[in-house]
């Protein structure tokens, strides 16, 4: 069985590589390369998979899930400029793909319940563009 919790954060970023010229970055990332950055209202969907506990009827305590997301993702990323304030995005480009993988990395160790495991991280950068990350091994 799957359960999904949704959360939102607003952050700014710029997609550009220091090894490329401004023109090359512009070609690769389009408007997202504008040097002063721009922002999104990111929507995060965290999906866990597991079997419900026969006593509690729950896969994972949703209050705890909310707190884990809040502490590890929302607090460090909300209303921040990812490139300047949220490592590792001082070193790697904060594309939606990389942000989703980083969120997985932060959440996965915290969500290893007896009956549940992290199944999918879905990150909407806009309503019309989203990324699913299911871990490095698959």
């Amino acid at each position: 069985m799957l359960i999904t919790r949704r959360a939102e954060f607003s952050a700014s970023h710029v997609c550009a590589q220091s090894s490329l010229t401004a023109e090359q970055n512009r070609e690769l990332y389009g408007a997202a390369a504008n040097p002063s950055g721009h922002g999104h209202n990111y929507i995060l969907e965290v999906t866990l998979e597991g079997d419900p506990d026969p006593v509690t009827g729950m896969i994972f305590d949703l209050k705890m899930l909310k707190e884990v997301i809040q502490k590890n993702v929302i607090e460090p990323m909300d209303h921040r400029f990812l490139n300047y304030e949220v490592p590792p995005f001082d070193k790697i480009v904060p594309t939606a793909e990389n942000v989703a993988a980083e969120i997985w990395k932060r959440l996965e160790p915290k969500l290893k319940g007896e009956r549940a495991r992290l199944k999918n991280v879905r990150l909407f950068e806009t309503e019309d563009l989203y990324v699913d990350y299911v871990g490095a091994s698959l």
Binding site: T95, E97, Y130, V134
Partner: protein, 142 residues
């Protein structure tokens, strides 16, 4: 594994009427969708792409390249059109149900996939078509 999904919209009309059925049978099978002058929907199309995450660019694909492909192969021909009269695949016996529209979209995207992504590992993973807010069709492509 990383999957990137892009959402597109187009408005189009269609009429469901199979040449293999009588007028009465078509009416019974397709109901209002068989009304002779057709009717329209605001379709929402989702295209999902998987591939290796490029360590340098941090991207699975260049979204602009997918936008150009979908614009040229799908939206230009489908948006504000009547499937039964304007889209070549549906001029014959093929009924423009969402199932068949999905197949046509897959064929069109696959046929031009390598033009958009010439030498990289991007793969069309799936397409979803929402006809109305209450129904959605999905085709996994492997």
């Amino acid at each position: 594994m990383t999957r990137v999904t892009r959402r597109y919209r187009f408005a189009a009309s269609h009429r469901l009427n199979s040449s293999g059925l009588s007028g009465q049978q078509n009416g019974e099978l397709y109901g209002k969708c068989n009304n002779p002058y057709g009717h329209g929907h605001d379709y929402v199309l989702e295209v999902s792409v998987t591939g290796p995450l490029d360590a340098i660019s941090g991207q699975v694909m260049n979204v602009a390249a997918l936008d150009r492909l979908v614009q040229a192969q799908i939206l230009r021909d489908f948006d504000h059109r009547y499937f039964n009269a304007d889209v070549p695949e549906f001029l014959g016996d093929l009924v423009p149900t969402s199932e068949n529209i999905l197949r046509v979209i897959e064929d069109r995207l696959s046929a031009h996939w390598r033009d958009a992504f010439p030498d990289t590992g991007q793969r069309l993973e799936g397409i979803r078509l929402q006809e109305t807010k209450r129904n959605r069709f999905e085709l996994r492509t492997n």
